[in-house]
Symmetry: C3
Subunit: 209 residues, 3 copies
């Protein structure tokens, strides 16, 4: 039905990566193994769950329990091996960027395939990609990424818009998925590598006394 | 189906007002244009989205994409023109009060029209009206209005109860919508104008050591 | 349909207990009668509401309005009589443990009866039992139990796993419900009575500098 089902293994890897980064993000605050696993699983599955509830589709991890199992196992492993991840945290940031890009474009594609309007598909792409992290941060009492100048959600939004534009153009066909995912990943990776924040004119940092 | 569909233009204005007040409410804390737009849009659409998920109706802004577009555009405009709103913030409070009143009564009417019990319609009226603001505050790390003595949710609850009573009485017909909306708006406007807070006996401020 | 419908009266008592403990948990922070009632009601009904939205079942308190009425009345009573509860707070902790156990096993049973996989039934049992408290804490700006070392969610998880195992074994029939509820309650009651926290090796308290 959706053209991204060939990306199944990549989605499982993305789910695991989201769960691992979810656990590591809250790991400095005291929590136990179950709390960590819940937060990692929420990070991995939360965005898609909210999307499916809104578009009234069957929730994806009820249809395919592998998502739940991968998220739980990855969270548990991350919780008990978090020391090992300290040296590879930067690698995880890049993997998280790749996971976010895949989730966003896959969700945009899924919602378009269900005949929703492009504006809704873009909104759902962004929501799917950042919703799990927002839920985790709210449950963990952390500041959400919405309140920061980190360049995280903006490339996702632009990539979803790009994907919708490519699909509607007569030019592209199969590679539009890969182009859009690569587009998001490259911007995000550049922001990670060069520590780029949102430019001041796009924030309100300096415009309040 | 529902008698309030003639209020369509008013609903769009209410959506825009909610988005604008949503952006302005969090504007003092550093956030970028996308974060502000997400928070404004969540304020405008969040309550109705939760309501529709609970009553299992199609989510209103998927059925009519204008709600999403109005919320996004109003949020963006509010973000980039927030300096201009400083002198008109009090006007916005009144518009917000009118929007909250309309959303509450429209939701109560919608849920009653779907044959749910009056108690559920009242609960959904309150949820629709305050849910978006609650979501915004949680995502922005602000204290929710549930924890304050501001007179905001109480007139909404009373207005929804009034509307249910008027619809069940043999007397009223068309004007019950307007009466209920005006009832909520007048109490809220009085609270804004005279800075009235909840009376002490209805709070626990003074009853804890 | 589900074997736990004979536990109807117990469920109403559990709903009332959750509402009362929900109100008392946030009672030290200034809030008014409506805020308290909303938070108590959210504590009592929130977990099951999220569960039903995810499994796409009719939300239980729309089907049977008694849940809503019991939660609202119990919350109101708790708000206005909170002084009286001070001497009985420990009793409430035990009642809350019993309510959490019942909600978890009843939800696991309901989801299994709808032919979902055992892993999903266990996840939904835990979510139903702790979801309302999580929502309340987020809305009230409190630290959620996920971030604490309190032994609350872990016995619930183990009890749901036990229930799934008992139902799949050829041995048990009717008593598996009671055994699983008692299992959760006894562990939680022991944790309350002896002030037991999660052992260090299951937390990350000591493994971060």
């Amino acid at each position: 039905m959706s053209r991204v089902q060939t990306l199944y293994e990549l989605q499982m890897i993305g789910t695991a990566v989201f769960a691992v980064t979810g656990v590591l993000a809250v790991n400095r605050r005291g929590l136990d193994a179950l709390g960590g696993t819940v937060l990692g699983t929420v990070t991995a599955l939360g965005g898609g769950t909210i999307r499916d509830a809104i578009i009234r589709a069957p929730v994806f991890w009820l249809v395919d329990t592998n998502y739940l199992l991968v998220a739980v196992v990855a969270s548990l492993v991350a919780f008990f091996t978090s020391r090992l991840f300290k040296t590879t945290y930067t690698l995880l940031l890049y993997l998280d960027a790749l996971g976010a890009a895949m989730f966003a474009i896959q969700a945009t594609d899924k919602v378009l395939a269900l005949q929703f309007a492009p504006a809704i598909a873009v909104a759902m792409g962004v929501l799917t990609s950042i919703g799990g992290g927002l839920l985790r941060d709210v449950l963990a009492g952390r500041q959400t990424l919405l309140m920061s100048r980190e360049i995280y959600a903006t490339p996702i939004l632009l990539g979803c818009l790009l994907y919708v534009a490519l699909r509607n153009s007569p030019l592209a066909s199969a590679p539009d998925l890969i182009i859009s995912i690569a587009f998001i990943f490259c911007i995000r990776a550049a922001a990670i590598h060069w520590h780029i924040q949102m430019p001041g004119w796009l924030t309100n940092r300096h415009d309040q006394p």
